[in-house]
């Protein structure tokens, strides 16, 4: 029943939908979802289960599903946000600089632990996936999940996996780790803040580091360092391990 009175209303609704689907609208939804996540985090008194990144992903994911926007369009609309991941990664040098005194006597344990961790992350992901019945493409895509997203994407591409899926895996495990990581470290009785940060950064890159930065500056600094070193270790080890694994 589109009576003459409804025409301007329908027109207004169309205009609103158009604006919501525009790059500005999608940016607004993403930032709004993130702010909602921060608000929830404060309300929940920093409870580990409430990570703003997860809230924002759910809000933006629902929005593009309801608005019927392609993910590729959403991705290019929000490039303005994703861009800052680069400079923010560079900035991880700042907490590391203020914690540099704590590097003394920890350099050898740190390097050995990160190299071993990279080898274990890669091989265990591949073997577990194979044992549970995944195909080779999926095994390859899972092998890079401990690396920071640009590394995961690049390495998966050269292996013959699915690059955009590798990014999703890396971020998913990052969020999972941000939620349960610190509690798991307590269970494992790892109490040295440097080792805690190192372990988190090595298995869950920047997302894990963001959680540790909120916990303690030392933990955040070593998580950032571990993220960088693990990116290096995984990039160097994966091509070698791939000869044996696939």
């Amino acid at each position: 029943m589109t009576g003459p009175l409804l025409v301007p209303l329908v027109g207004a609704a169309d205009t609103l939908l158009e604006v919501a689907r525009s790059p500005l609208g999608l940016l607004g939804v993403t930032l709004g979802g993130y702010q909602a996540g921060r608000w929830l985090q404060r309300r929940a008194r920093d409870h580990a289960a409430v990570q703003p990144v997860l809230v924002a992903i759910v809000v933006a994911g629902l929005a593009i599903t309801l608005l019927d926007v392609d993910y590729a369009d959403y991705r290019s609309a929000t490039e303005l946000i994703a861009f800052w991941l680069g400079p923010a990664t560079v900035a991880l040098a700042i907490p590391l600089h203020s914690q540099a005194d704590r590097l003394r006597g920890f350099v050898v344990p740190l390097l050995v632990a990160v190299a071993l961790g990279a080898a274990v992350s890669i091989t265990s992901a591949v073997f577990l996936a194979r044992w549970l019945g995944a195909g080779e493409t999926l095994e390859k895509t899972l092998s890079t999940k401990a690396a920071t997203t640009p590394v995961a994407i690049g390495l998966t591409e050269s292996l013959g996996g699915i690059p955009s899926l590798a990014a999703v895996f890396a971020i998913s495990i990052g969020i999972f780790s941000a939620i349960v990581g610190p509690a798991t470290l307590n269970l494992l009785r790892i109490r040295d803040r440097r080792a805690r940060g190192l372990a988190m950064g090595a298995v869950s890159h920047g997302v894990g580091a963001s959680r540790m930065l909120r916990e303690h500056e030392t933990e955040g600094a070593f998580a950032g360092l571990a993220m960088g070193l693990s990116a290096l270790a995984i990039s160097l080890l994966l091509p070698l391990l791939a000869l044996w694994l696939f």
């Binding site: 959403y74 560079v90 590394v151 990014a167 998913s172 109490r191 090595a202 920047g206 290096l232």
Partner: protein
């Protein structure tokens, strides 16, 4: 703010150039992080220097910058339905093994080398 961001982007650019010249698989920002670290050690800028303020400001919202790539989950939810078990098993299993190996190796080697342990009481968390 803009001056600090300019510094960060300059270090990222340096990192990108290095990575391309050396043709290594490491991302430019990670190399840029190493350059900024060396710069900070040498110059020791004050806590309110532009690059420190801009960088700390970005780090407070590190999680935000992962959202665009993370929303890709939505695009893959349907496709991944059949393979949920190997995906979840491999991700969580390998995450846990990695955490154990890195954490215990670092702590174990520290003790072996006789360095202080820098402990924190568990009750405090």
């Amino acid at each position: 703010m803009i001056l600090g961001l300019t510094w960060l982007i300059a270090f990222q650019l340096l990192g990108e150039v290095t990575v391309r010249l050396l043709d290594v698989a490491v991302p430019g920002p990670v190399v840029g992080m190493l350059y900024l670290f060396v710069f900070l050690r040498l110059r020791r800028p004050a806590a309110d220097a532009p690059v420190v303020r801009a960088g700390s400001g970005l780090l407070r919202h590190l999680q935000l910058f992962f959202v665009p790539a993370g929303v890709g989950m939505v695009a893959y939810l349907g496709v991944l339905g059949d393979d949920w078990l190997p995906i979840a098993g491999a991700m969580v299993g390998s995450w846990f093994l990695g955490l154990v190996v890195v954490g215990w190796t670092a702590v174990g080697l520290e003790r072996l080398l006789g360095q202080p342990r820098d402990d924190q009481p568990l009750e405090a968390r």
